[in-house]
């Protein structure tokens, strides 16, 4: 047990730090770390910045060198993410490509598919979105109904996806579609890549309770894609999709934790500045929030240590999402409580939100997306603790 970093790691840290020092200037620095997967603040600037990251080889840090990555160790990825967060650098825009599709292609794709798509992710010249959820396939993802039928050397796709983050900015979508309606529901699915820019695809913004629209509905009407763009085998898309969901943001945790810690410190400062930090109940709540964000860090370090030893995240890493999403929800509620009546007053007439208001509202999505709290608890109960599954209703 030792929380110090090796000399080698410190050299890498210096490299990251000096690159960021040199490049994170002007409009990039001015942007701060605002924005996220469901928050489009400063989109154009973030996109330009991401291309810079790509040019410098910071995208796909942990990917194997043969596919254009750096082959960085887990520790180095952790350090990069930590320094990135400390530098208050812009929120990343290539999460779906770099974090989800890239690793999926590396694990399941053909050589041809890898050569075709990985460079575009690494240089941030092609943006991706994820077409998993549908109106009737949320937690029950295998209930996907969007249908793909092979027509010569093309798939013809009809159906609808929903909650598709960044679909309106994306060049490509990776979809889970039904290719065999006769098979049992997990066995008739395929993992299919499709170009977004075509007449058969319509993207409609979905206005969320924050008043903005980062999510979308995506409608497919005789949309087309090439027959060779299935990842893995036809009708074996479930396995591929589960693999995709398994590429956890293991090494991003430290960055996320720092982001949350920063928010927690802002809350403490707010309480101090507004004369509330002497109140015994407020002090309890602030201390509790602070404890939560520290434990998030300790949990992350423990998971990472096991990942370093075994190569994959340990079962208990599955508590991470449950933990941070609920912690953040509580923090948002505390932010509102501290603001008191001011929590109602918006930043502008078009439903512009103050930072705390935005955090409070956005946090309600966090206990739902990427596996709701209830699904997370089922997973923990069944896969980590070995409790029996619920008898299937259908």
């Amino acid at each position: 047990m030792d929380f110090r970093w090796s000399a080698e790691d410190e050299v890498f840290r210096d490299e990251v730090r000096s690159w960021l020092n040199e490049h994170l200037v002007g409009e990039y620095a001015a942007l701060g770390s605002g924005g996220g997967p469901a928050d489009e603040t400063g989109w154009d600037v973030r996109l330009q910045w991401e291309k810079q990251l790509g040019q410098a080889g910071w995208i796909g840090l942990g990917w194997p060198k043969e596919y254009g990555g750096r082959g960085a160790t887990i520790t180095q990825q952790l350090i990069f993410n930590e320094e990135y967060a400390k530098a208050n650098a812009p929120a990343r825009v290539s999460f779906f490509g770099e974090g989800l599709l890239g690793p999926t292609l590396i694990a399941f794709g053909t050589e041809e598919q890898k050569q075709r798509f990985l460079p575009g992710i690494l240089k941030c010249t092609e943006l991706w979105c994820q077409g998993f959820s549908e109106p009737d396939a949320g937690s029950d993802l295998a209930n996907v109904k969007t249908r793909a039928i092979l027509d010569g050397d093309e798939w013809v796709v009809n159906g609808q996806k929903v909650w598709t983050t960044l679909a309106h900015h994306s060049d490509w979508i990776f979809n889970v579609v039904r290719t065999d309606p006769e098979a049992p529901k997990h066995k008739g699915l395929s993992f299919l890549l499709m170009p977004m820019d075509q007449p058969g695809i319509e993207v409609k913004p979905l206005k969320q309770l924050t008043g903005s629209a980062e999510f979308n509905e995506v409608f497919f009407t005789d949309a087309r894609t090439s027959a060779d763009l299935v990842i893995g085998n036809v009708n074996e898309g479930w396995k591929v999709a589960m693999g995709t969901l398994g590429f956890e943001r293991g090494t991003a945790f430290l960055a996320q934790q720092l982001h949350f810690q920063h928010e927690c410190e802002q809350v403490i400062d707010y309480a101090k500045k507004h004369g509330m930090s002497g109140d015994l109940i407020v002090r309890q709540k602030l201390a509790d929030a602070w404890i939560g964000v520290q434990i998030m860090k300790y949990n992350g370090f423990r998971s990472i240590t096991k990942m370093l030893a075994t190569g994959s995240p340990p079962p208990e890493a599955s508590i991470s999402k449950l933990y941070w999403s609920h912690w953040h929800r509580h923090l948002g509620e505390l932010e509102m409580d501290l603001m008191g009546p001011w929590s109602e007053v918006l930043a502008g007439p078009n439903y512009e939100l103050e930072e705390f208001q935005s955090s409070f509202l956005l946090s309600r999505a966090e206990t739902i997306y990427t596996g709701s709290t209830e699904i997370q608890k089922n997973i923990i109960g069944e896969r980590v603790l070995g409790l029996p599954r619920e008898p299937a209703a259908s």
Partner: protein, 371 residues
């Protein structure tokens, strides 16, 4: 960066677990909790002479084996898991730490070897009827008398106070809070065992009347020492709590897999499954907190005061929650005297309040991080 126990530390865990499974099964815990002394002298002797547990973190020059607080955390976690009935926490986490950090070299040479070998049972007598864990709570007085001092007043809730042969007492002199050592059989010391709800950890009331005492460290400078000792003890207690909480989770999950109602194991119902998932989240988080605090204690770094309070607050609540849910998941059987669930539940409650409750530690933490 490495947040895991070494192979040697894991081996220590296996050894201690095997020892405790043999020496401290439920039947033994129950036998000992009914006694006034609350421990088995022959097991205590073996812990010292065979396993060297009492002297684990005591430096070699004082008769110990010079391991770190991280090893101590491993041992305490196993003791919490087994509900070991023995004066280990009082002797090692409280008294030995007080002597080690007193800055009194003569006392260290004189007293630590006896603790390390298992000959001495020791404790810390700090709290009084007010139950306070701060300097203001200390009202017993010490007066200079010849070469030494005499103490007057009382101490309450003293862990193993009736069986300890060495007692570190916090008392006030004209210079402020000071620490003293008092022999268990000293003149003018009346010791009364308390009947306690948690019978696995014994407490006593001590009355001092002109009781001879020896100064430990420097007069008037007892509080900074005590403050550090309380932090170290909080880390030790957090480790114990983690062990107990993990055991409660295991009991709950095992039962939920075999108990059938409505034709299904109750663990297949989400109401029960989700309870267990919540327990796992808290138990794993408690481990992270306690282990990290153990490292800070081993390093004696600047983070120790904050992480000690953090770990004590979090692990206390995690243990209590796990122990309470364990009874609920077991249903009627969990409410019986025969089932062990109540032993953990009662230990969880007494530990939650020992050294200050979570509310107290959150406040302490707030102060320590500058709120």
């Amino acid at each position: 960066m490495n947040f895991a126990f070494s192979e040697e530390q894991e081996e220590l865990r296996r050894t201690v677990r095997a020892f405790l499974e043999d020496k401290s099964p439920s039947a033994e815990v129950r036998r000992l909790m009914e006694t006034t002394e609350g421990y088995d002298p022959s097991v205590w002797e073996q812990m010292g002479s065979q396993l060297g547990l009492q002297g684990l973190a005591i430096p070699e020059e004082y008769g110990g084996s010079g391991y770190t607080y991280v090893e101590l955390v491993v041992v305490l976690e196993e003791m919490g898991r087994a509900l070991l009935a023995a004066p280990y926490f009082s002797t090692v986490a409280l008294a030995a730490n007080a002597i080690l950090h007193s800055g009194d070299d003569a006392a260290k040479k004189e007293l630590l070897p006896g603790i390390a070998s298992g000959e001495t049972i020791a404790t810390l007598a700090m709290t009084e009827d007010s139950g306070r864990w701060d300097a203001e709570g200390i009202t017993a007085t010490a007066t200079r008398a010849g070469d030494g001092y005499t103490i007057d007043g009382h101490k309450m809730f003293v862990l193993d106070g009736h069986t300890a042969n060495l007692i570190v007492v916090a008392a006030k002199t004209g210079d402020g809070v000071s620490l003293f050592t008092v022999a268990g059989d000293a003149d003018g010391l009346t010791r009364t065992p308390l009947a306690t709800m948690d019978q696995t950890r014994k407490q006593a009331r001590l009355e001092f009347s002109d009781t001879p005492a020896k100064l430990l460290g420097t007069e008037g400078e007892g509080w900074p020492v005590l403050s550090r000792v309380l932090d170290l003890a909080a880390v030790a207690l957090a480790a114990e709590q983690v062990g107990g909480a993990q055991k409660c989770l295991e009991m709950s999950v095992d039962y939920a897999k075999v108990r059938v109602q409505f034709g299904r194991p109750i663990g297949s119902f989400q109401a029960i499954k989700h309870k267990c998932a919540d327990m796992l989240l808290e138990v794993e988080s408690a481990k992270s907190a306690a282990y990290y605090a153990g490292w800070a204690a081993a390093e004696l770094n600047d983070e120790l005061p904050t992480v000690a309070s953090l770990a004590k607050a979090y692990c206390s609540d995690a243990y209590f929650h796990a122990a309470a849910e364990n009874i609920q998941i077991h249903g009627g059987i969990g409410f019986t005297w025969e089932h062990d669930a109540h032993l953990y539940f009662k230990r969880a409650k007494s530990s939650q309040l020992l050294l200050g409750d979570p509310t107290y530690h959150r406040e302490l933490l707030a102060q320590r991080i500058g709120i």
